[in-house]
């Protein structure tokens, strides 16, 4: 892939400062996103997946958040140094968001139609009638029956799955180039999850935007992503094409993660593998490999130095001294 990346992030760090502690949530993260690709981001809770994406678009309240980066470029613009107005013009227009909990992500006192029409009227300057027509199209697209009538309904009249469809319609309203989906299926039933995934897959073919899909569900990633980033304690520890990652995971953490997934179809193993210990919370900038305390293969160097990501195969890189 030698195309120009749509989004390029170099050395992004985010820390949260409170009165008596500093938490380094994201540490020197590098990644790129190409047009039209689906990038999966996996990691356990607190690994910095969401914070990374929120930081890019100025959605973290500051204070307490402090963000620094070598460069964050989206389509030629430096996101972090943009004035608030210009950043807002990108948010919701060229980059759409879907959040984790559809039950609380919609405003309870505004109609679904108003909320979908809002970004279109704001960013594209559509009239009420135009926005309404487009909103009906969008609700149709995401599979909400009787779209024209349901526009006048409030969110509490929709089920969780339907609300997530509304959120997707809302995120797609202005034809974004990037869709950031932050664990969009975590709060939903498994059957609804499958429907939403199917919907996103078909939308991707129809609309052709790039997707950053944040999740801790490896199964979802396997069926959707082109490329996967694995995050641990605010760092990207491994990055590979989806096939490579599932067949030839390299980082001990990724392997452990894959080993802890129950195998529904296959032979029942005796026990599920668990990763021992607690996920690291960094109160100081990392001085060692963040995984060393839980790693079976750790050597002395792992405790003294932060491993850099290096290539270990075609489009596959890993941050580990042992590879």
């Amino acid at each position: 892939m030698n195309r120009e990346p749509l989004l390029e992030v170099r050395d992004l760090s985010v820390s949260f400062h409170s009165r008596d502690a500093v938490v380094h949530a994201v540490n020197r993260v590098n990644f790129v996103l190409h047009p039209g690709e689906v990038l999966g981001v996996v990691g356990e809770s607190g690994s910095g997946k969401t914070v990374t994406m929120m930081a890019l678009l100025g959605l973290l309240p500051s204070p307490p958040a402090r963000i620094s980066a070598e460069a964050v470029r989206f389509d030629g613009q430096k996101l972090l140094s943009l004035p608030p107005d210009r950043l807002r013009a990108i948010r919701g227009h060229r980059i759409g968001f879907i959040f984790q909990d559809p039950m609380t992500s919609l405003n309870p006192v505004l109609t679904v139609g108003y909320q979908i029409m809002e970004p279109m009227r704001h960013h594209l300057g559509l009239t009420r009638v135009q926005a309404r027509d487009r909103a009906v199209e969008l609700l149709d697209l995401v599979g909400i029956p009787d779209a024209a009538r349901r526009l006048n309904d409030w969110p509490h009249r929709f089920s969780g799955g339907m609300r997530q469809r509304v959120m997707i319609a809302l995120a797609l309203a202005c034809d974004p180039q990037v869709l950031v989906a932050d664990e969009p299926t975590t709060a939903l039933d498994v059957t609804i999850q499958a429907q939403i995934l199917e919907l996103v897959r078909s939308l991707r073919e129809k609309v052709g935007m790039a997707i950053i899909w944040i999740t801790h569900d490896l199964g979802v990633i396997a069926g959707l992503a082109d490329r996967v980033m694995v995050m641990y304690a605010g760092q990207i520890v491994e990055q590979a094409g989806v096939g490579t990652l599932f067949e030839a995971a390299s980082h001990p953490y990724t392997r452990a993660l894959l080993g802890s997934v129950p195998d529904a179809g296959g032979v029942r193993r005796d026990r599920l593998m668990a990763i021992t210990g607690q996920a690291a919370v960094l109160y100081r900038p990392p001085e060692a490999c963040p995984f060393h305390s839980r790693c079976d293969e750790a050597v002395a160097r792992c405790r003294e130095e932060v491993p850099k990501r290096h290539s270990c195969g075609e489009e596959h890189d890993v941050a580990c001294f042992r590879r």
Partner: protein, 335 residues
């Protein structure tokens, strides 16, 4: 919603009847005698006749029934006659004040404008100050604006109005001599000069009460906005790329307003009730002052009627608050 309003209004009727009965019984139980203030030289049997002429000789259920007829039938008929010019009331007995021997309702209507002007205006000003202050305090939590706002509202809320009232009188009337310390009810606004005089005599009572109201309501507003600011839907609104102003004033405010509107609506009957103490301090002869005088004089018909009017207002504004709540929050529909 319409059906709900009708139903609630109908339920209010028995509620109010029960309230009026309880009021009547309570006032009857209360110690005190309308003739107690009369000179001791008046012989006992004369006093007894005076009492009888006031209707006190009748048994309590008869007196209550008479009050019901006077208040619910005769008074509306009199009002109608006055409005239309037709003679509908033909000398029906009205509720008469024992103290002044004139109809209670007429006295109330005489005093209502002062109360509405002073107390009502202070309430409106209080709300108009409180809402923006509450919003900014919450949005810029712990900023200097919020700190000052918090301090001022703590002061405004915890210092009683008779103290701030007297303080203002001391400073602006006694020391500086800028403002009159008494509220002159006989002042009629006819020209620019009298308008200014009216304005000057209203400044102190209105600001004392406005500070108190604003202090209370701004705290509610602030708390309610803070409750909402960190919710997920606010993040969604920001992710849409909306201006912060729209995020706060459209998305957050709509959600935060419901509890505040309830508090504000339930406070309105208090406006009609008059600020009893503040009216005393500034000698505004409004309803609050009337209530105090009537209680002191054992003027039971007046006390009964005033208390009942307050009860009606409270019931009405409870309903208004519930309806507004339903209008603001679509999740609450009563039908």
């Amino acid at each position: 919603m319409f059906v709900y309003t009708i139903r609630r209004s109908l339920i209010a009727i028995p509620t109010l009847l029960v309230i009026s009965l309880i009021l009547f019984l309570l006032l009857d139980l209360a110690p005190g005698d309308p003739t107690a203030q009369l000179p001791l030289t008046i012989p006992h049997d004369v006093k007894e006749r005076i009492r009888e002429s006031l209707g006190l000789g009748e048994p309590i259920h008869v007196r209550y029934a008479l009050w019901l007829v006077q208040f619910f039938v005769n008074e509306p008929l009199h009002l109608l006659s006055e409005l239309t010019g037709w003679d509908l009331a033909d000398d029906r007995q009205r509720v008469i004040s024992w103290q002044s021997r004139s109809p209670v309702v007429d006295i109330v209507m005489e005093r209502l404008p002062q109360t509405l002007w002073v107390v009502g205006l202070s309430y409106v000003i209080g709300v108009l100050i409180a809402i923006p202050v509450g919003i900014v305090s919450a949005y810029r939590q712990y900023s200097w604006f919020d700190q000052v706002g918090t301090f001022v509202s703590m002061v405004g809320f915890s210092i009683p109005t008779y103290f701030t009232g007297i303080l203002l009188i001391l400073v602006f009337s006694v020391q500086l001599g800028w403002l009159p310390s008494l509220y002159d009810t006989t002042l009629r606004v006819t020209d620019w000069q009298s308008f200014l005089a009216q304005l000057r005599q209203m400044i102190m009572p209105v600001s004392v009460l406005a500070l108190y109201n604003a202090a209370q309501i701004s705290r509610f507003m602030r708390a309610s906005i803070l409750d909402n600011l960190n919710l997920d839907y606010v993040r969604t609104a920001r992710a849409k790329g909306l201006h912060e102003r729209i995020v706060v004033l459209v998305h957050v405010l709509r959600n935060s307003l419901a509890p505040v509107v309830t508090v504000v609506a339930l406070g309105v009957p208090g406006v009609f009730g008059g600020a009893i103490i503040t009216e005393q301090v500034f000698k505004v002869n409004g309803l609050g002052q009337l209530l105090i005088i009537s209680i002191q004089a054992n003027d039971l018909p007046m006390v009964q009627t005033l208390a009942f009017i307050f009860a009606v207002l409270i019931v009405i504004f409870n309903l208004v608050a519930d309806i507004l709540y339903g209008l603001l929050d679509p999740r609450i529909r009563y039908d």
